[in-house]
Amino acid sequence: MPQIFKPSADTWLRTFAAVAALGLIAAALFGAGVARSDWVTRAGWPVEQPVPFSHKHHVGDLGLDCRYCHSDVEEGRYAGLPSSHVCITCHSQLWTGAEVLEPVRASFAENRPIAWKRVAALPEYVYFDHHIHVARGVPCVECHGRIDEMPLTWRAKPLQMRFCIDCHRDPAPRLRPVNQVTRMDWTGWASDPANRGFGERAMRRFHIQPAKLTDCNVCHR
């Protein structure tokens, strides 16, 4: 009976097995990397909107408070997007001829909402509530980043489950005075001796129990 395999076949088999194993590991690492990448989470990607609305202009330069436009954020689950009536309170007199504002004027005149593209939406199997976070002093900037520096809005944080859980395990260092939740710039706040222990005091005052905040049914109901 003739030989089927040459003496080199063994080497070939071993090489092939080694390459396949390495390939599998590489694919797994690549997959995990992609799942956490900005490309999947959309973090840092500006979203084209029907009107090029700029938070940098309206919040950063004009100093408007978030609640002027997102007025439901303190009471409700949703922060809400402003109706075109809110834009028109100023743009009835300002930039009245501007081409970019035409969709806003049309929306106001025809009583038809502007179809803003969502930036920070979660999958619908997750329950989120603004009111509880704002009432406990979690500032907007923790989850939405420096909105006041965005000419077009983008998602600042990945908003994946690990992001939520990281804070729910230990919220204390990220709590701030409730009456300043819309403040954007907190540089120097944590290192100021006057604020030492603030987070721990807030945890006690609001009876926040991190052990319960990581239960699955807090966010998946």
């Binding site: 004009l62 007025s71 009536h85 009835s92 300002l94 909402p113 999958p123 199997y125 009456n179």
Partner: protein, 177 residues
């Protein structure tokens, strides 16, 4: 193994359901159910809100002046009025500086004589080129803002004789103290 046992695997297909988008209408979402394509619908004309009596009652009566009311008023004033009327009520806010018509000074004789009710009404219904803020400022907050405007007016017109002795001394001391 019997071939029909494969059928037991069928329920596993349920795992293929995409749950990120669920067949329900959330607020602010588009919805094919309604003619205008929005999930949130305005109540039909003539509808009366269940809390309408409480709302009207809160509008009709001025709440007692308290530090808490003033603090609330200051917060709401800064959110909704300061961009135009300025922190001091002078009317020189940042929006008029960008070309919006100039609002009147809250410290003018006419507005100092105006009743708190006037301010509450202007917030609810607007005035001239100023749009109404009734959709974002509920009755309790309207009274709170009116109270704070009173405090702003007083801050520019308080007679020095009304100050406590310590404050009076600081006021009269030479600058730099």
């Amino acid at each position: 193994m019997r071939p029909w046992l494969v059928l037991l695997l069928l329920p596993a297909l349920a795992g293929c359901d995409e749950m990120s988008r669920q067949p329900r209408d959330d607020v602010y979402r588009a919805s094919p159910l309604f003619a205008d394509g929005a999930a949130m619908q305005a109540p039909p004309p003539g509808a009366v809100a269940r809390d309408a009596p409480a709302w009207d009652a809160a509008l009709a009566e001025r709440p007692p002046m308290t530090p808490a009311l003033l603090a609330r008023g200051r917060e709401r004033y800064r959110i909704f009025c300061q961009p135009c009327h300025d922190a001091s009520g002078s009317g020189h806010g940042i929006i008029p500086a960008r070309g919006f018509p100039q609002p009147p000074d809250f410290n003018s004789e006419r507005l100092r004589q105006a009743s708190s009710q006037t301010f509450v009404d202007v917030i609810g219904h607007g005035h001239g080129v100023m749009f109404a803020y009734g959709d974002r400022v509920p009755p309790g907050d309207r009274w709170a803002i009116a109270a704070y405007i009173r405090a702003l007016q007083l801050s520019q017109h308080a007679p020095a004789a009304d100050l406590a002795a310590g404050d009076r001394a600081r006021l009269e001391a030479p600058h730099g103290r």
